[in-house]
């Protein structure tokens, strides 16, 4: 199996660099998706005049394929808004947009699932609406939707393979580079696929364990 050694093991530095870029893109996109999703969800539920705008954005992000959004952000936004000015930024912005639409709906379902009595209990001990949100509604919502959040993160990791198309040097792009140098795709692509599958499996298993731990800690059943 000298091919495996020559094409995969000896190139581990490159593949590792690529995986690091993949993790970086996913982490930034995930942070953006959480913040953006929460924002969209709160605007949709509580800011009457902007409600139609929030709904339109959520539906647009959810109903357009990630690849189309990526191309759109990459080619159209720089001329429309003068931003994003690097491929890397365009990559995480597109990934984040898509997921913020999904997470906004997830958060809304979670907030609506918080029993009315919990909120009223907060008001009756003199909490302000902001305190009720920060102390009661948001923590309960996060626990309810924790499994969906983990799931959305794996979706981001899987979609992040596409940022290689706009030349972000992630794992996928490094693998394709190696393929184009030697024209021997079998080992490199199989190894890359295995790395991705293993990575997503690891992330989803660890995420589920964390979500279940937190839910049990606060007296909910593991999901």
């Amino acid at each position: 199996m000298s091919n495996w050694e020559r094409l995969v093991w000896n190139q581990r530095g490159l593949l590792w660099q690529g995986l690091a870029v993949t993790i970086e893109v996913c982490a930034i996109a995930f942070a953006m998706a959480i913040v953006g999703g929460l924002l969209l969800c709160l605007v949709r539920m509580h800011v009457r005049p902007l409600r139609p705008v929030a709904i339109a954005l959520i539906e647009f992000f959810r109903a357009t394929p990630i690849f189309v959004q990526l191309m759109w952000v990459n080619y159209v936004w720089p001329e429309l808004f003068g931003w994003p000015n690097t491929f890397f930024t365009a990559g995480w912005v597109a990934l984040g947009l898509q997921s913020s639409g999904y997470l906004a709906e997830t958060f809304r379902a979670g907030i609506e699932a918080v029993p009315r009595g919990h909120r009223e209990a907060g008001y009756s001990v003199g909490m302000s609406p902001f305190q009720v949100y920060r102390r009661i509604v948001l923590p309960e919502m996060l626990l309810t939707v924790a499994p969906s959040i983990v799931n959305q993160f794996t979706v981001i990791v899987k979609s992040s393979t596409l940022v290689s198309v706009i030349t972000v040097p992630d794992l996928m792009l490094q693998a394709m580079k190696l393929v184009n140098i030697w024209y021997e795709p079998i080992e490199v692509l199989t190894a890359t696929a295995a790395i991705y599958i293993g990575f997503v499996f690891l992330v989803s298993t660890a995420g589920k364990a964390l979500a279940d731990y937190q839910r049990r800690r606060f007296g909910l059943n593991a999901a």
Partner: protein, 233 residues
């Protein structure tokens, strides 16, 4: 900014190439239906393996689900297009080549079969044991029980979840343009190379996909809800 905005929202260029682009969209639908057929058949097979009594079958079914549910669809499309033909060629000792369309259908079909298998399995396991016992008590064969008692109920229960997965699958068909299947995104990038005007073209593509997915998914969801209500009522 405003000039760029007007350019992006001006549908004239998109309209000019409507025939090519519409053919591309039809190709998306073609890939979608082919891959969905593969996904449903393979998914059902994997689900039946996962609920089998013999552990080696269960183990194979679980492996199938875990591999394909955790695989990004882009790398699977690339892998099936560039690696699978070489492996098959080594196996049978002659040159094998997949058309881009065949690779796309195999890859997307298998990736989504993992999701469908889980949906099927959840549906199958939600059926009360009593229904199976009733079938056996009437002397039905196991296969008759599967087709007459289990699957009709499973289909109704899993429909909302399955619709979501069909939507994801349709969205995933956009990436087949990367292995030169002539779908809408592929045509858009071709026209962009000729015209050098990405703004209206990519905006048009995004709006087209949005409209198609929003309208079709919405009406399919509505129809399936009505059908379910009619049966359960």
């Amino acid at each position: 900014m405003s000039e760029a905005l007007v350019d992006a929202l001006n549908p004239a260029l998109f309209w000019e190439y409507r025939q090519v682009l519409l053919r591309g969209l039809a190709f998306n639908a073609y890939v979608f239906f082919s891959a969905a057929t593969v996904a449903l058949i393979v998914g059902l097979a994997a689900a039946l393996l996962r609920v089998n009594r013999a552990w080696p079958f269960r183990w194979i079914g679980t492996l199938h689900v875990e591999v394909f549910r955790n695989a990004p669809d882009y790398i699977m499309v690339i892998w099936v297009h560039f690696v699978l033909p070489l492996l098959l060629g080594k196996l049978i000792g002659q040159r094998v080549e997949f058309s881009p369309f065949a690779s796309a259908v195999i890859a997307l079909g298998f990736v989504y079969s993992g999701y469908f298998a889980e949906t099927f399995r959840a549906g199958i396991q939600s059926i009360p044991q009593g229904h199976l016992d009733a079938g056996r008590a009437c002397g039905m064969a196991e296969s008759t029980i599967l087709w007459r008692i289990i699957l009709p109920q499973v289909v109704r229960r899993m429909l909302p979840e399955a619709v979501n997965q069909f939507v994801s699958l349709f969205k995933a068909t956009t990436i087949v343009s990367l292995i030169a299947v002539p779908d809408l995104m592929y045509q858009v990038s071709m026209v962009t190379q000729q015209e050098m005007r990405p703004l209206p073209l990519y905006t048009g593509a995004a709006v087209t996909y949005f409209a198609v997915i929003y309208v079709v998914a919405g009406s399919v969801r509505g129809l399936s809800e009505r059908w379910r209500n009619k049966i359960y009522a």
